[in-house]
């Protein structure tokens, strides 16, 4: 690993050259009203590296809200053609917890059957990560992630003073930065560590993340599920904004001319009422409380048991987006702890 240093001004000029070169689409965090979003950058000056959290996580670039899987002529199975739309992208300024979420998504889409619609987009991406510089009232990322996010980052940035310390983590990252005016880093590891940990989380999980799978196993029957579940509007906001929710549905879209159709995959979520309904109408998770429990179990027990990593990265988006104010995992675990 190579560690360099670049002034913020030089980094922004470098990004402008990258945007102009159009080798890949440059995406970064931009301000939208009082919130932040990931969007394509027209100029580096639009980039905002000092943000709390984005409305949607960067998963939308790898598993778009709507993505074409197949094209066809309606009612002609001989015409099925697989589609995999992707283009080279660079994403600048992804917080480490969102990188941890991408690490988990990579596992989910590559283990067993390889989902090339996701994996090709990942292959064509370069990720530039960073550590949060602003607090966020529902964030508890340090309780539930370690450094797995760094495993998917090509470059990590840490801001110290007016400079960015640049850790180059992959050959792809090195190639990307080859024309940047970066110099040898002269900050100490301690200064680097301090800068990374400058902003503390506002929330904390009340128990160690390693203990959660077993803890949930012991709390399958608990008033918490009904207590929060009955307040749920089944709107699905919590799963739509979640960086580790990747469940999907497939739908057909046909041109008005009936000459061409597409099978598209769209985001879906286990908090929506009909998620587990089978053909004859039986709903395997009919009650709101069973859906509420399933979401927490999937994050806290099923995904850790399947992939070895906690299924929630503590970004706090679900808590931010929940109308009923029940979705945040910290709130759920606190309630269980208080009502043993």
């Amino acid at each position: 690993m190579e560690i360099l240093k670049i002034s913020k001004n030089d980094f922004y000029s470098f990004l402008d050259r990258k945007i102009a070169a159009k080798e890949s689409k440059t995406i970064g965090v931009v301000k939208k009203g009082s919130h932040y979003v990931f969007a394509e950058l027209d100029a580096a000056s639009d980039l905002c590296l000092d943000y709390d959290v984005t409305i949607l996580p960067p998963k939308k670039y790898f598993q778009p809200p709507k993505e074409v899987l197949l094209k066809y002529v309606p009612k002609k199975p001989e015409s099925y053609v697989a589609v995999n739309e992707c283009e080279p992208i660079t994403i600048v300024g992804i917080h480490y917890y969102d990188l941890a979420a991408i690490y988990l998504m990579d596992k989910a889409f590559s283990e067993g059957e390889r989902d090339e619609n996701y994996l090709k987009k990942r292959e064509n991406s370069l990720l530039i990560g960073m550590y949060p510089t602003k607090p966020q009232k529902n964030r508890f990322a340090r309780s539930v992630t370690k450094d797995q996010g760094r495993k998917v980052a090509d470059i990590m940035l840490t801001e110290i003073g007016g400079n960015l310390v640049v850790e180059i983590l992959t050959p792809k990252g090195k190639e990307y930065l080859k024309d940047a005016k970066a110099v040898k880093n002269d900050y100490s590891m301690k200064e680097l560590e301090d800068a990374r940990n400058n902003v503390k989380d506002d929330q904390k999980l009340p128990l160690a993340v390693e203990l959660v799978p077993q803890y949930l196993g012991n709390h399958y029957e608990h008033p918490v599920w009904e207590h929060f579940g009955e307040k749920c509007f089944s709107c699905g906001s919590c799963v739509l904004v979640c960086p580790t929710c990747y469940c999907f549905d497939a739908r057909e879209e046909i041109e008005l001319s009936l000459a061409e159709g597409k099978r598209v995959r769209v985001w879906d979520g286990c908090m929506l009422e009909d998620f587990a309904v089978v053909a004859d109408g039986h709903n395997f998770r009919k009650n709101k409380s069973s859906r509420f429990r399933h979401r927490i179990f999937r994050k806290g027990k099923h995904l850790p048991e399947k992939y070895g990593y906690f299924g929630c990265v503590g970004c706090g988006r679900c808590a931010n987006s929940c109308t009923a104010d029940i979705a945040g995992p910290v709130k759920v675990f606190n309630y269980m702890e208080e009502n043993k």
Partner: protein, 290 residues
Amino acid sequence: MCENCGCTETNQKDDVQKNSIYLPEVAKLTQKKKMTPFDSFFEFQLKDRPLGHLPGQFAEISIPGIGEAPISISSGPSKDNTFEMVIRNVGSVTNAIHALEPGESVGVRGPFGTSFPMNNLKGKNLLFITGGIGLVPARSAILYAMEHRKDYKEFFILFGCKDPSQRLFTDEIENWKKRDDIAFHETVDRKENFPWEGNVGVITTLLPKAEKLDPKETYAIIVGPPVMYKFVIMGLHDLEFPDEHIIVSLERRMKCGVGKCGHCQMDSKYVCQDGPVFYYHDIKHLKEAI
């Protein structure tokens, strides 16, 4: 060159076709027969290869413009390119399949999922307990066991459905009844106004027919609607069947078939890959299983 990622366009296209786990193959409908007011029998034929399924597996069948649905395969493993399904007309995809005529085509992905462990059951008695459309996936194992009849000892089939109009594979059932190496018993929940001389009562009322089977030497295979499992398993426990000797095939919404979309999740299992066939012993501790 592809303007996006620099690869040659043809290469990219070939790769995309080869590597997509969502691209169906084409199968032609070769036979179709009505079985009940809502269930029809279909035989499909793939162009270049046998489907290569094992008893109990399923495939995703799709109609371009309508959608895709998981369907159990009802034929035994086959060396030719045909496979059979019995499809209940309950939704838009199955409705469109029912509207097809022989010679028309569907898309197929699969086979998917686990199968009945027929090798592990060798030398034992078989007790099939099937409810309604559950006979469809069970038939793939029944046909396999008939083909390898000498590998198994006693061979019992119990079949129950709502009323006599919903009986499936009636011609085959007549043949099964005539065989002296198979014990076939059936019942209907309600006789309604149909001419029916047979048993009336839920599927568990047939369990005493299997009383003579030594549970330690017998494997019970249960396939039916979700409500059936609990009661049948209780009945088998009364007969002192060990949980290791109870095999179930479970239904969930298996949308993608490849363990990604999340719809068929049952605790930490994906039914489309870890199932649909499970030993009851392996899933009885799961909260969402039965």
